[in-house]
Symmetry: C2
Subunit: 481 residues, 2 copies
Amino acid sequence: TGLPEVLEVRKLACFRPLKVPSNLLILYSLRVFFSPMLFQIDHFGFAEDRTFKQRYLIADQHWKKDTGSILFYTGNEGDIAWFANNTGFMWNVAEEFDAILVFAEHRYYGDSLPFGNKSYTDAKHLNYLSSQQALADFAVLIQHLKNTIPGTENTPVIAIGGSYGGMLAAWFRMKYPHIVIGALAASAPIWQFDSLVPCGSFYKIVTEDFKKSGAGCSETIQNSWAAIKRIVDTEKGLQWLSHTFRLCSPLKTKTDVINFREWLRGTWIYVAMVDYPYEAAFLQPLPAWPVKAICKYLKNPKLPDRLLLQNIFQAVNIYYNYTGHASCLNLTQTTTKSLGLRGWSYQACTEMVMPMCSDGINDMFEPQKWDFHAYSEECFKAWGVRPRPSWIPTFYGGKNISAHSNIIFSNGGLDPWSGGGVTKNITDTLVAIMIPEGAHHLDLRSNSPFDPTSVLQARLLEVHYMKLWLQKHERVKTCPK
Amino acid sequence: TGLPEVLEVRKLACFRPLKVPSNLLILYSLRVFFSPMLFQIDHFGFAEDRTFKQRYLIADQHWKKDTGSILFYTGNEGDIAWFANNTGFMWNVAEEFDAILVFAEHRYYGDSLPFGNKSYTDAKHLNYLSSQQALADFAVLIQHLKNTIPGTENTPVIAIGGSYGGMLAAWFRMKYPHIVIGALAASAPIWQFDSLVPCGSFYKIVTEDFKKSGAGCSETIQNSWAAIKRIVDTEKGLQWLSHTFRLCSPLKTKTDVINFREWLRGTWIYVAMVDYPYEAAFLQPLPAWPVKAICKYLKNPKLPDRLLLQNIFQAVNIYYNYTGHASCLNLTQTTTKSLGLRGWSYQACTEMVMPMCSDGINDMFEPQKWDFHAYSEECFKAWGVRPRPSWIPTFYGGKNISAHSNIIFSNGGLDPWSGGGVTKNITDTLVAIMIPEGAHHLDLRSNSPFDPTSVLQARLLEVHYMKLWLQKHERVKTCPK
């Protein structure tokens, strides 16, 4: 049942070994595929009947027909090869699960562009960028794989994803339980919507990370905002600031200054997200425990403005220039180019409306209320669309998800996104795993000798639950009909 | 959580008492509402940001805040007032459930037209007619009701529907279990797709109905096809046929004859669907057990062509002219105008692709294979769209739905659609109820002294399961958090 015939899988190229830090154990050769023209650009309407090619990666060295499973990475907002390289967990457990690994690229990211280089032209071309369309792609892809890879017809599939991909994994199990027997949703802030959680939790957790990582650290950042205000008051100060921060484009206008402050805020957020216990290169190449490394420069919150801001630069410089290769700092390039920030900006302006606020008391940021109206105006200016803040909870259930089953929600205590995550068991089969020493989906990364015990335990538990689902599946399979 | 504020429910008019057969117990005054402009025309894309008004009917005389529930009719392809009038079951049980009854009209039917009288203009305007969009409307409507009717915030909702509406009820529970605690899906052929069931089952069941209802009956119909072929071979025969059947427009072309045969086939199907044990007026005003009434004219399959076809006319005339008011028979008006056949034709050409075939051996129809290619061509000609035959099973799970819960699938043994229905229990909470003497969703109709025991038992069972869901819901509610 399901798909049209034809559907010869086309192997376009052998995958070139990826340049990865040595602590990532890419033991397999990974093959790149593009789906046949199977994927409707619009799964939910029929006026647009064109199709597109979705990219996906497959590693099947450990696949065993009779006992195996498919571990399916629900790709999120970026290049799928980059995610495959930062999801060592799947590679580490492939043999244990006799598994085929599949990494599916999310539409509108990487090479999976529905309208080629016109995909981002306007709201009309972007109209098919949504979580629902992506989940439908995954469903069609899995049916396609089962129809074309001999022996996989009855192979159970488990969805795995992190961050937005973790939300997709959880939602995939909720909406397509006939296609995946369970989901590992790592650092998936499925409740970071509407008023399901306090809008301040995110910045509070970022602040706590910096507090924990060095005396005076969060206070120094807290004091930096006023210092900047005072410095940029004069033309000379503005020049000094641009020079001190080695900015590629010097600050000139008020908007530049606003962007600068937002860039700083973003930097602290990103560092907190990737506060991993070892050297890694996820969003940027970084030392082990980068927040600690940064806080070494931020011990004295009482320094005069210029000295304090010079220290802030040293701190920021760790995030943007750990390799020492950057000749200047660019406010618009905040992470690896593999991350699709443009697409995410559109998604945040449509479905993915995550209210955020800071008060400057419980957090180290400038006070900023959640202003939906202003947010909506900005979205309309940027993309010609209006966000719909209650659609995600309406469609995916908000906090009322107990009717579903077989989802692991893992969260890191250091991860700002954990504030919007599921951190307590909901039922026997909707379980939460907390990793107090973990940053953003640390559990999905490859095993490392530097891993804290909590993440090793988390991975063991995850494997345990996944095996339970598989056992149950096989028990059902062998029962007489 | 969920919806924007504002949202004053606008009571547009008091409902005029509906003209209904006396055996329908409409004990309540029904109020008509139009939703505020809440309903996105496109729930799944953001380029089309306009909204529309959905019509819904409410009866709340039996509503009790602390113990009550909401029984929510998931409207299908027609005028919602007509469905409300033919769903006496809900009226009969309203008091027992302290319930608010809600009947929600399906978009593109009745008065719920997204683009007003332009809604059916072309494929572009029809693009938002789909089951997914309709389910999203229902979800938004329920949230709206809970936000605006005081005391309903925590009221459990049960979805109820018949036929396509029964599919919607089942799918609503599958996709939105956070919104409805369970669903009664009456005569819902959720498996009449792709190759989930044999394409011949439908016509086979129609044939069995006629076989059971009188000796010689199905054979007479079976023989009529060849008789028609012989008669229309001459111009005179064609005239005789048009005259004998009192057709409003005489048959002239080959296409007319094809349409005539299809009209006959459709007539037998419709009569089988509404083979109720009492006088009723669902698709047309009809006597009790209309198939039996028809078969009284079809006792002698061996008659010469003209005599046989005269009898066929007498039979057909029961369906089209039981009231005696029809001055001629119109091939294009086969059912009540409340049924939205045009919209359904579009839906059948997009999502709702239900393969049908006959072989003339196991059924009384002319042999006709399922020809997807020809079907697709016709759809493209008629609507400018191509059907996607595997999308419904991909999206809603096909036969693999055991991960869901709290759905009652009821089916009538006389109903041709039962061939595509769930007629055996899948799990403890996905249960099937068979009504051997029932036609199309007889169980949803009002209690009648002529009801066979099997439908009375079915209704009791349905109430029993619905109460179980409510009990469980209340148990969960009263547990300490």
